[in-house]
Amino acid sequence: MNLSAYIYLATLLFALGALVVLLRRNTIIVFMGVELMLNACNLALITFARMHGTLDGQVYALFVMVVAAAEVVVGLAIIMSIYRARRSASVDDANLLKL
């Protein structure tokens, strides 16, 4: 079986995720785009591990999953508090960072 197909799939997923992040305004959807990109990376890592016959990629993937889980928790919490404060889930409304 040709492993490069997985790489293409991962690339496609990553591009999709990136587009979602860039184009959608709803914070939850943007967040999902980020998750998609993370998982695309996981797929690529596992594929590479398989290609080279080492475990490194799989270990990385496990780390990413753990970090992603933590990130979901923190991220959702932030989104919730922003939503409560501003009554909006649009990312464009959270522009307080600029001077």
């Binding site: 860039l22 943007v30 522009n95």
Partner: protein, 651 residues
């Protein structure tokens, strides 16, 4: 004639051959002479109000203690052979680094002890006088503390064994003078006068510092023994420069031209201060400095000539100014300047003049201090008024003051056989025996000065004590208390007899001979008797003229309009206008300009410009930070793609 030609005992070929030996006996206690008044000053200043009651008496006692100790040391020195009268007291290692090594040490020799006696004796008398004069001043304690401080500093100055230690005393008397001129500094003019004195003195001090730097670079040392001992090995130019720098220092302290402007204003201080500091002692420090540095001046005729020229100019300058002043203290101050001019002239004449300069310095210390105290007594009688045009006919009201002042007056105009006659006539004679054209110029200037002196001092005397009473109605003149009159009497006696005691007996010249050596002057240009007669004639003329104008004739109560010359003299020959126009105003403009420049150019343009430039640059760049998360993400993506593309291209 015979009195004047008395020549003296031991003659030493080379005065610098005298080396100081370790002090023994009473002389080893020389430090105590300084320490006593210093202790007094410290106690009175630190002790605060606790010492208010007994402080002034304590200060006076300590000052007398110094005098007694000084006298004991003189007695001890007198018991030794003439060439052994130079002793050193080493105190502690003060500054030493590299080549520089200065011990705090004292030099007890005839010259320094002559000064010690003058300072402590006149100083103590003036302490006593001040007990009466300042009796009602609320800050009496502070006044006596400063007086003691002054005495201590002046003693350091004359007892120092190196230029650096001398400089400590030099600036110390400057400080005491500053504090005392500004003693009544609630009057802003008096505070300014104090500042003026200190700052003008600092110009001289600056020259003195450079002179010391030059000495260190040349001789590798600052103590008198080394510097004077090796003066012969330095080049002529070096010695001349050092001599001129020392002269500049002396000009500041002794109010000599061109640094004379502060002395008139210094009369802002209480009168005992004027008597002690600005007449008898501190202002003569410049003469002492030149006399002490004789080893240098002996080798550099050019610098010596400069000293004589400065002295000659100042003696005329002071005399001219003295003719026009109506303020009794300022007239006396001008006279002080003039008399110190005489001393400077004498030291500038070289070996023939040193002894006479010191002689005149001592007699002047007595008669001028006496007259200042007399002036203080008159002011005391006249509710602190100083305008002589409102005095007159006081001889009946304040008899003791009149008589004692009269003694000083006779001495300063050089009435035969008074103290001033002995000392001043010798200077005039020495001036005539200077070589070449100098003899004529200096001799005639000194002669002329003597005539003018007789005129302006008589003017002062007659305007104050004779003629018609011109007082305001509310004034009731009264004689001063005994604490004030006794010092005046003592000084008056000194003014009359000191010359006869010191000179014809050979006492003073014998005493100073080991320091200055014995010098036979050149042949005088005029026969001695001719000089003496012309001095006498000029004196009589001066007194007579003054009597006609100020004794017999009516003196207007307000200074009348006068010729340009008189107006110039009243304005101190425009010295202050000159300083204002050419020094103070450009200086002030420079300071204001620099302040603006520092704010506008350095801070605002250079530093501020940089920061403003950075800020505007940041303003442009920050437009990119629009706060939209998605545009940030896009930028990041574009950046990553760009980096990856670059890597791909390179590989």
């Amino acid at each position: 004639m015979s009195v004047l030609e008395t020549s003296v005992g031991v003659a030493l070929a080379d005065p610098s051959a005298v080396t100081a030996v370790e002090a023994t006996g009473t002389s080893a206690l020389a430090w105590l002479v300084i320490a006593l008044p210093l202790l007094g000053a410290a106690l009175l200043l630190v002790g605060g109000r606790v010492t208010d009651t007994f402080g002034p008496l304590l200060a006076t006692a300590l000052s007398w203690g110094s005098f007694v100790l000084g006298a004991l040391i003189v007695v001890q020195l007198y018991g030794r052979a003439a060439e052994d009268r130079s002793m050193s007291v080493q105190l502690w290692d003060w500054v030493s680094a590299g080549e520089l090594s200065v011990h705090a040490g004292l030099l007890v020799d005839p010259l320094s002890m002559a000064f010690v006696l003058l300072i402590t004796f006149v100083g103590s008398l003036i302490h006593v006088y001040s007990l009466g004069y300042m009796a009602n001043d609320p800050d009496k304690r502070r006044f006596f503390a400063y007086l003691n401080l002054f005495v201590a500093a002046m003693l350091i100055l004359v007892l120092a064994d190196s230029y650096l230690v001398l400089f400590v005393g030099w600036e110390g008397v400057g400080l005491a003078s500053y504090l005392l001129i500004g003693f009544w500094n609630h009057n802003p003019a008096y505070a300014s006068a104090a500042n003026k004195a200190f700052v003008v003195n600092r110009i001289g001090d600056f020259a003195l510092i450079i002179a010391m730097a030059y000495m260190l670079a040349t001789f590798g040392a600052l103590d008198f023994a080394t510097v004077h001992g090796s003066a012969g090995s330095a080049t002529q130019t070096t010695l001349t420069i050092i001599g001129l720098l020392l002269l500049a220092g002396a000009c500041g302290k002794s109010a000599q031209f061109p640094l004379q402007s502060w002395l008139g204003d210094a009369m802002a201080g209480p009168t005992p201060v004027s008597a002690l500091i600005h007449a008898a002692t501190m202002v003569t420090a410049g003469v002492y400095l030149v006399a002490r540095s004789q080893a240098i001046y002996d080798l550099t005729p050019d610098a010596r000539l400069a000293v004589a020229v400065v002295g000659a100019i100042t003696l005329l300058y002071g005399a001219i100014v003295g003719c026009a002043k109506d303020d009794i203290k300022k007239a006396l101050a001008a006279s002080t300047m003039s008399q110190i001019g005489y001393m400077m002239l004498a030291v500038g004449l070289g070996p023939i003049g040193y002894i006479y300069a010191i002689f005149h310095l001592i007699t002047h210390g007595f008669f001028k201090a006496g007259m200042f105290l007399g002036a203080g007594s008159v002011m005391h009688a006249m509710n602190d008024r100083v305008d002589m045009r409102r005095f007159g006919a006081l001889s009946r009201e304040v008899k003791i003051t009149w008589i004692t002042f009269g003694a000083g007056w006779l001495a300063i105009i050089g009435f035969p056989f008074t103290a001033g006659w002995f000392s001043k006539d010798h200077i005039i004679e020495s001036a005539f025996s200077a070589p070449g054209w100098q003899g004529w110029v200096f001799g005639l200037v000194a002669l002329l000065g003597a005539g003018i002196t007789a005129f302006y001092m008589s003017r002062l005397f007659f305007m104050t004590f004779h003629g018609k009473a011109r007082w305001e109605d509310d004034i009731h003149p009264h004689e001063s208390p005994l604490t004030m009159t006794i010092p005046m009497m003592v000084l008056a006696v000194g003014s009359l007899v000191l010359g006869a005691v010191l000179y014809p007996t050979g006492l003073l010249s014998g005493w100073l001979e080991p320091v200055f050596g014995h010098a036979e002057g050149h042949e005088s240009l005029l026969p001695l008797i001719a000089i003496q007669v012309s001095v006498f004639v000029l004196m009589v003329l001066g007194v007579g003229l003054a009597w006609l104008r100020y004794g017999r004739d009516e003196v207007p109560q307000v200074a009348p309009e006068a010729s340009f010359a008189t107006r110039a003299a009243r304005q101190d020959l425009f010295q202050d206008e000159f300083n204002e126009q050419f020094l103070r105003r450009p200086g002030a403009a420079l300071v204001v300009g620099l302040e603006t420049a520092d704010k506008d150019v350095v801070d605002n343009a250079m530093v501020g410009g940089t920061s403003r430039g950075l800020a505007s640059l940041a303003n442009v760049v920050r437009q990119a930070q629009n706060g939209f998360v998605r545009s940030y993400a896009l930028t990041m993506l574009a950046g990553i793609v760009a980096i990856l593309g670059a890597v791909w291209v390179i590989q």
